[in-house]
Symmetry: C2
Subunit: 120 residues, 2 copies
């Protein structure tokens, strides 16, 4: 048994998309927020992009290099971040890959439409 049926999220239920090389993601859209579980292969690249949605991220396994604006940091399992809306950001998975949980508000399906290319 997992969570009560009315609230259950099963990340392994086959709803994963593979929108970019080396990246798979499972997305759940709520009314006020969305949640997404990303599995990144070693060295997988999330190109620089931006969106108006605020973005929270938690590294569950592995490691990630994250660029936000003109800053860069290295995150490992247990590290977290909160990116304001419209701030360009990018990421590269570490040598063992990365399992990354994200939440967006307002809700966002990260690959429902092409990401806006960052201009700065």
């Amino acid at each position: 048994m997992t969570a009560p049926e009315s609230a259950r999220i099963d990340w392994s239920d086959g709803q994963e998309q593979s929108p970019l090389a080396g990246i798979s993601v499972s997305v759940r859209l709520g009314r006020e927020l969305s949640a997404a579980m990303f599995r990144l292969d070693p060295g997988a690249v999330v190109p620089r992009h931006s969106h108006p949605n605020e973005e929270f991220g938690q590294v569950v396994e592995g490691a990630l290099t994250l660029e936000v604006g003109d800053e860069r940091g290295h995150l490992v399992a247990g590290d977290a971040f909160l990116i304001p809306g419209d701030l360009p950001h990018a990421a590269v998975a570490g040598p063992d890959g990365c399992l990354l949980l994200e939440c967006y508000a307002p809700p966002r399906d990260p690959f429902a439409a092409p990401a806006k290319e960052a201009t700065s």
Copy 2:
């Protein structure tokens, strides 16, 4: 090095509150969502309550019994849930405790004001 300074969340930076017996929580408020990392001792109880904010949860470590409305489920590390706003819910940590990550939208500090008692 962890996340870039402008986006960094350090769950271990001493901002934890201990609002209920056996429960400590660290909260970060954004503009559109908030994130909270709960550490529950074995058997710790989150009393039944409700709030208008939508609530996402991810079990990071340990186990949790979760009641949502009139349903009950048992979650372990890797399991997740999404509770609509205003739906009464409660939780009890498993025998080894539970590390639980939650996000709320709109943003919510779960212990900034007394939780509304569920009437059903």
